[in-house]
Homo-oligomer: 242 residues x 2
Amino acid sequence: MTYELYYWPGIQGRGEFIRLALEEAGVPYRDIAKDPAGEAQAVSKLQAVLGDAKTPHPSFAVPLLKAGDLFISQTANILMYLGAHHGLAPADEAGRIWTNQLQLTIADWVVEIHDTHHPLGPMEYYQDQKQEAHKRAASFLKYRLPKYMGYFETVLKQNPSGEQFLVGSALTYPDLSLFQIIEGLRYALPRNQSRIETKYPKVIDLHDRMLKRPRIAAYLASSRRIPFNEDGLFRHYPELDM
Amino acid sequence: MTYELYYWPGIQGRGEFIRLALEEAGVPYRDIAKDPAGEAQAVSKLQAVLGDAKTPHPSFAVPLLKAGDLFISQTANILMYLGAHHGLAPADEAGRIWTNQLQLTIADWVVEIHDTHHPLGPMEYYQDQKQEAHKRAASFLKYRLPKYMGYFETVLKQNPSGEQFLVGSALTYPDLSLFQIIEGLRYALPRNQSRIETKYPKVIDLHDRMLKRPRIAAYLASSRRIPFNEDGLFRHYPELDM
């Protein structure tokens, strides 16, 4: 079975959290965003799957992973599935729950990052909400970003198995997602990140170790990694990087 | 073992999705928000659990469920646990994944509902973001609310086991959460709901059947149900009910 990943072409977005897990697991997958027939074809395949009037399990949005007969959507849900099947999560119930809890907290963080440039909602362009974005980003930088960064620093500090990983003493999928958040924040808010990162040495150390994992390093150097850009989740608008 | 639910006193908030599942399952729980020593005591218990510098599994926020030795947070995560232990979710992997996927979509909807009155973020008062809230609410009512309502109508329509429940032919925890969303929207946006609900008859029918379930009816009539108010997730600001 080869997995199929359905996500919008041209952006990393939430699809990237799935790609990082697939790449680290070393499992084959077909990335529909990279359809050889081009992006328009990719989008029409994606819309066909989202609009399927016969499926017993309609999806609200992508990312969506086709795993044999299963069509799984919601980022944290897909990662839970991949974690269970490819050794990226503990097998026991308490460990699975804790791993999922961390991923759901990352999902909340992702929404707040998105909302720094789209406080009036996903349907309006950034250009039409620049003033509001400035206010929301200021509040995010002052209160929320330190809260999230500090939380994950605490998780690493209080991990009884040591400070190397978020869960126990081995890599799990939220480690990869936290790596991606740091990459994205550095792209979007470089001035702010360079000022605050020294306060969160354990998080940054985890990021740096993910970067050196052979499969992750190979993926990031490949054409499979879509560059960050201003259509995605992490956007570099210098006026928001206060 | 008696569960303990930690959540802010005085509001339904995200804690209510947990309460509804506990009530329907008929399992005993101690609601820390209703601490007999009063709300200040409840808040200090909650802060003690959130700030515990020794726990191997720190929580970012509440709701949090103490289940024996486990401290579980994130609403969808707690519900997944309760679903598995109290017959509120299918036992097979495909069914568990689908149920979780629906709950995560409800969680996204909840964030968007919250953001109608807090587009500039959770740290600022509504009074300081009324203009922005008006814009965000308008976009929500026009685009996002119909998309979510239509999605759950489609899920019911395409359920191969019939239109009675979201998952298969028995109640699962997202049914209760969808009920709560409709209750909340009716409280927050009564004019809009009275205009749109006829377009989503299957969702409303599900809501109405949840309302009649003996344990849910008994709960709603009890003092355990905190009334809706303007400190919670669903707030009735007539100026946003366009």
